[in-house]
C-alpha cells in the first residue's frame, strides 16, 4: 500500500433514517477520500450528517439508520457488501473509533484495563499476562501517567480527560490503519483539548495511521487536518486543502462558517472594531439611564457608574469527606473582586471547576457568599428583604446555558415571558400582551411563537425566548451564564450579534460567563480569568489578547483551536 492508493473511498453514499411517518435522508451523495497516514476532517454543525457518515463506515448506525446506496471502499473492498463477521473483524483491527462523550462511552462496571484488554483478545493480538502488560503500554502511549495503577481502576475514578485518553488507547489498541475520531475533545476543557490533540498528532506521526476527524469547530479542523470536508444538511458543500478553504471559501455556507467561527472571527480586526462601536453606544445610553435613576427615589439603586461591584467574594462548600462525621471544605470561589461599569461587558473566563458559575450565582443572589459582598449600584444586596429584594430582582436577570432546560416545558412561550410581569404585578392583561409582543420583536421572533411550547423550538430559538424573558422587567444587568456555549456556530454568532445589538439599544450591562476565550473578544470589554476559584488575571480584552501577563492566560490563548492560522483580514 503506497501513499498514492486511497485507504478509504466513500462514493455517492446515501444514508436514511425511517420514522413512523417517513424516510428521512441524513446523508446524500457523499464523496470522500482518505489516504494512508493523512488527517481528514469533516466539519459541520449538528444535523449536518458528519457523525452519521462516520458511523456508517463501520456499520454502527443508531436506531433505524440504513445505508440506502453508494459504496464505502476500504483498501479496495466495499464494506457495504461485507458480511457481519467480516465487519466484526474489521472494527478495531482495521478501523478504530474514538467516540465523542467520554462520560457515557465507557462501561461503568468494568475496569479500564479490562475494557482495553478486550480489544487485544478479540483480535488475537495477545492474551493473558502478555495482554495485561500491553494494556499498560497502551495507556502510557495515550498519555496517561501512572498507567499500571490506572489500568486497575474504574471509569468513575477517572476525570474526563483521562477517560478520553483511555478511549484513545482502546481505539488504537489493535493498531488500525484508520482511526475515526468523533468530536474527540468537544466535551473537554480547552487546555486538556489541546494536550490530547497534540498527543494524537504525535501518535499519527509515530504510528502512521490515518485519522478521520469529525468536528464542528472549523478552527480546530484546519489546525489539525490537511484536507477538509464541509457538510451542510447531509450534503458535502465544499472540500479541499484546509488552508485554501479557510483563506478562500467559495460555497456560501463555508463563507458563513468562516465568518462566524469564534476562534477565527476573534482574530479579525473587524470584530474588534464592531465591539468598540457597540460599547460606545451602550455606555451612552446607560449614562442616560443612570441619570434618571439618580434623580428618582423610586428606582432601585443610586445611579452610579459602577453598576455591580463584587468585593472579596468567597464561597466554601461542605462536602462529605472520608468519614461521615468530618466533612471536607471545598473552596469554590476564593477572594474574587471586580467592578462592572454601566453599558459594558465583563467576561469571566475559566475552565470547569474554576468557580465562574458560582460567582454568577452569588451576584444574582441565588447563592449566599461565605464571605464578601456584592453591591448593586451602590446598594449592598446581602441584607435585602422582601420588597427591596423584589426591586433588586427586577434589575438583574439571568440567561442560562442549557436551552433545553431553561424554559419550563409545561409553559407556553407567552406564559414563560409573561411570568416575570405577573410575579411583579406589572400592567394589566392587555399591557402585558403588548409587552410580550414587543419583546419577541426585539429578539427577532414572530409573535405567533407565543402560543407555542419549548419542545417545538430549536436551541437557538429557545435562547431567544430566554433573552426575551430576561428583558421583560427592563433590567439594567443581564448575567449570561455560558449562554451561547450549547449552540451551533452559526446560531451562536446570531445570538452574540443580538446580544450586542440589545446592549447598544438599551444600555445593558453584561456579565458574560464562558469557558471559550475566543467568544470573549466579540462580546466583552474586560476579562476576568479564573482558575481553581481564584482570579488569575484581570484586564481589558484587548490587552489580554495582545499582551497576556500570566502563564495560565497564555495557556488558554494558545489552546484556542485555529488561533495560529493566518487568515485574510487578521493581524
Amino acid at each position: 500500500m503506497n501513499n498514492q492508493t486511497p485507504l478509504l473511498e466513500i462514493k455517492d453514499l446515501n444514508v436514511a433514517f425511517s420514522t413512523e411517518k417517513a424516510v428521512i435522508p441524513a446523508v446524500r451523495d457523499a464523496n470522500l477520500t482518505v489516504y494512508p497516514g493523512q488527517t481528514v476532517a469533516i466539519v459541520g454543525e449538528s444535523g449536518s450528517g458528519k457523525s452519521t457518515t462516520a458511523h456508517a463506515i463501520i456499520d454502527l448506525l443508531p436506531g433505524t439508520g440504513k445505508i440506502t446506496s453508494g459504496q464505502i471502499l476500504f483498501e479496495g473492498k466495499d464494506l457495504i457488501q461485507a458480511s457481519k463477521d467480516e465487519m466484526v473483524d474489521l472494527r478495531g483491527a482495521s478501523i478504530g473509533l474514538v467516540p465523542q462523550d467520554p462520560m457515557s462511552n465507557l462501561n461503568p462496571l468494568w475496569k479500564i484495563g479490562f475494557q482495553i484488554k478486550e480489544v487485544l483478545q478479540a483480535h488475537d493480538v495477545c492474551h493473558g499476562k502478555e495482554a495485561d502488560a500491553r494494556v499498560v503500554e497502551l495507556l502510557q502511549e495515550a498519555g496517561l501517567p501512572d498507567a499500571e495503577k490506572r489500568a486497575k481502576q474504574y471509569p468513575h475514578e477517572f476525570s474526563g480527560g483521562m477517560r478520553q485518553r483511555a478511549l484513545i488507547a482502546i481505539g488504537l489498541a489493535a493498531r488500525p490503519k484508520l482511526l475515526i475520531a468523533d468530536e474527540p475533545t468537544s466535551a473537554l476543557d480547552v487546555t486538556v483539548q489541546k494536550q490530547i490533540l497534540d498527543h494524537m498528532d504525535h501518535l499519527t506521526d509515530s504510528l502512521g495511521f490515518a485519522i478521520l476527524l469529525i468536528t464542528h469547530d472549523l478552527g480546530l479542523a484546519s489546525e489539525r487536518a490537511d484536507h477538509l470536508v464541509v457538510m451542510y444538511k447531509g450534503q458535502i458543500v465544499e472540500s479541499g486543502p484546509a488552508l485554501e478553504i479557510l483563506q478562500d471559501p467559495q460555497h456560501p455556507y463555508t463563507q458563513r462558517l468562516v465568518a462566524s467561527a469564534p476562534s477565527l472571527a476573534s482574530q479579525r480586526l473587524s470584530s474588534v472594531q464592531a465591539r468598540a462601536e457597540v460599547r460606545e453606544k451602550a455606555v451612552q445610553t446607560a449614562e442616560e439611564v443612570a441619570a434618571e435613576v439618580a434623580e428618582s427615589s423610586e428606582n432601585f439603586g443610586k445611579g452610579t457608574d459602577t453598576i455591580v461591584s463584587a468585593k472579596n467574594l468567597t464561597k466554601v462548600f461542605k462536602l462529605p469527606g472520608d468519614r461521615p462525621w468530618s466533612p471536607t471544605d471545598f473552596v469554590a470561589v476564593d477572594n474574587v473582586s471586580f467592578d462592572l461599569k454601566r453599558g459594558t461587558t465583563m467576561a469571566i473566563v475559566g475552565e470547569s471547576g474554576s468557580g465562574k458559575s458560582t460567582v454568577a450565582r452569588m451576584v444574582l443572589k441565588l447563592l449566599d457568599p461565605t464571605e464578601g459582598d456584592v453591591e448593586f449600584d451602590g446598594v449592598d444586596i446581602s441584607s435585602l428583604k422582601r420588597k427591596d429584594l423584589l426591586k433588586f430582582r427586577r434589575e438583574m436577570q439571568p440567561i442560562f446555558q442549557n436551552p433545553y432546560a431553561s424554559l419550563d416545558p409545561t409553559y407556553s412561550i407567552y406564559r414563560s415571558i409573561v411570568e416575570p410581569l405577573a410575579t411583579h404585578g406589572i400592567g394589566n392583561d392587555d399591557e402585558r400582551e403588548a409587552k410580550v409582543r414587543d419583546l419577541l420583536d426585539k429578539v427577532s421572533l414572530p409573535s405567533s411563537v407565543m402560543r407555542r411550547f419549548p419542545n417545538e423550538l430549536s436551541g437557538g430559538q429557545r435562547q431567544r425566548v430566554a433573552i426575551a424573558r430576561a428583558l421583560a422587567l427592563d433590567p439594567a444587568v443581564v448575567i449570561c451564564d455560558e449562554a451561547v456555549s450549547a449552540l451551533d456556530v452559526l446560531v451562536q454568532a446570531q445570538i452574540l450579534e443580538l446580544l450586542n445589538d440589545l446592549q447598544a439599544e438599551l444600555g445593558l450591562s453584561y456579565l458574560f460567563i464562558t469557558h471559550d476565550l475566543a467568544v470573549v473578544r466579540q462580546i466583552a470589554d474586560n476579562v476576568l480569568v479564573m482558575q481553581d476559584g481564584k482570579v488569575v488575571e484581570a484586564a481589558a480584552v484587548t490587552e489580554v489578547f495582545t499582551n497576556p501577563r500570566e502563564e495560565y492566560t497564555r495557556k488558554l490563548l494558545d489552546a484556542i483551536p485555529g488561533a495560529s492560522i493566518p487568515l485574510a483580514g487578521t493581524r
Binding site: I58, G92, P99, N107, A173, P324
Partner: protein, 308 residues
C-alpha cells in the same frame, strides 16, 4: 462504600423500632376491646379476661406495652398460641419449609424471568417480546389464589401429575407446583424489569463503543449489556421478598404446606390475633434483614458505590 454501608445499617435500627411499634399500634390501638375480640363469638369468661389482660400486658400504659412486646420479640418470646405451645417454637418448626419453598420460587422466577426478559429486551417489538408482555400482564392481573386453585385443579386433580396438596411431606417434588405459583407474579415483574433494562442498555453509548472494538454480538450482550441490566433486578429482589412472604400465606394455605405462611393463614381464619401479630412481626424482621443484605450485595456489585 463504607459511607453507604454505615448509612444503611444506621437506617435499619429506627426502621425496626418503628415497624414493630406500628404493628403493635395497629392491633392494640383499634377501637373496641382487644380481649373481648379475642373471644370472637364465644361467651366471655371474666377471669379468663383478666388473665389474658395480664398476659398481654394490657393493663400497662401503651409505650410500656410496646417495649415489653419488643423485648419479647428480641428474646424470641411471642407468647403462646391457642394450642398452648409457645409461638416461637411453632414458628421455628415451620420456618425451614417456608424457606425451602421461597428459595425454590426465587430460583424459578429469576431463571425464567431474566432469560425471558433478556430475549424480549433484545427483540423489542417483535413477536416474542409482545407475547411475553401480554403474558406478564395477564399474570399480574389475576389474584394469586386463583392461580393456586387453577394449578391445583389442572395439574393436581385433572392431570394428576402432582399431588394437589403437600401435607406433611414437604419434599422438592411436592413443592414444585406451589413454588411456581408463588413465584408467578414476581416472575412477571422481573421479566418486565429485565426487558426494559436490557432495551435501555442496548441503546447506550458504551455498547456502541464495545461493538466498535470489534467484539462479537454475543460477547457484547454477555459482558456489556447483561451485567449492567441486572443491577436494577437485584434492587428489585429486596422488595420482592416482601411480596413473596405475603404470597406464601395464600399459597401455603391452599396447598396445605406446613410453613410459616400457613400458620398465619390458619390464624387469620380462626381470628387468632396474637399469633397473627407474632408471625407477621417475625416475617417483617426477616424482611428488614434480607433487604439490608440485598442492599449490601448491590453495593458490592456496583463499583461506583464500592470504590466511591
Amino acid at each position: 462504600m463504607w459511607w453507604y454501608v454505615g448509612k444503611r445499617l444506621l437506617q435499619t435500627i429506627p426502621v425496626i423500632l418503628g415497624a414493630t411499634l406500628l404493628i403493635y399500634a395497629m392491633v392494640f390501638l383499634m377501637p373496641g376491646d382487644p380481649i373481648k375480640a379475642l373471644f370472637g363469638d364465644k361467651p366471655v369468661n371474666e377471669t379468663a379476661v383478666q388473665q389474658l389482660r395480664e398476659q398481654y400486658n394490657l393493663n400497662d400504659p401503651f409505650l410500656l406495652q410496646w417495649l415489653k412486646f419488643l423485648q419479647g420479640a428480641v428474646t424470641g418470646d411471642f407468647g403462646q398460641s391457642y394450642t398452648g405451645r409457645p409461638v416461637s417454637e411453632v414458628v421455628a418448626n415451620a420456618f425451614p419449609v417456608t424457606i425451602k419453598l421461597a428459595v425454590m420460587a426465587l430460583i424459578i422466577e429469576m431463571l425464567l424471568g431474566v432469560t425471558a426478559g433478556t430475549i424480549a429486551g433484545m427483540r423489542k417489538g417483535k413477536l416474542f417480546d409482545s407475547t411475553m408482555l401480554v403474558t406478564s400482564l395477564l399474570v399480574i392481573a389475576v389474584p394469586i389464589f386463583v392461580f393456586a386453585f387453577m394449578a391445583q385443579l389442572v395439574f393436581g386433580v385433572k392431570l394428576n401429575w402432582v399431588s394437589p396438596t403437600v401435607g406433611g411431606d414437604a419434599s422438592f417434588q411436592r413443592l414444585i407446583l406451589p413454588a411456581i405459583v408463588l413465584g408467578l407474579v414476581s416472575f412477571a415483574y422481573i421479566l418486565r424489569l429485565t426487558r426494559t433494562s436490557v432495551a435501555e442498555n442496548l441503546a447506550l453509548d458504551h455498547v456502541r463503543t464495545a461493538r466498535a472494538k470489534g467484539l462479537s454480538d454475543g460477547r457484547v450482550t454477555r459482558v456489556h449489556v447483561l451485567r449492567n441490566s441486572l443491577i436494577p433486578v437485584v434492587t428489585f429482589l429486596g422488595a420482592d421478598l416482601g411480596g413473596l412472604m405475603a404470597g406464601a400465606v395464600v399459597t401455603e394455605g391452599i396447598f396445605n404446606i406446613p410453613g410459616v405462611g400457613n400458620l398465619a393463614f390458619q390464624a387469620v381464619q380462626r381470628g387468632e390475633t396474637p399469633t397473627v401479630v407474632a408471625v407477621i412481626t417475625i416475617l417483617v424482621l426477616v424482611y428488614v434483614a434480607t433487604s439490608l443484605i440485598v442492599d449490601l450485595i448491590y453495593a458490592l456489585l456496583d463499583p461506583r458505590i464500592r470504590y466511591a
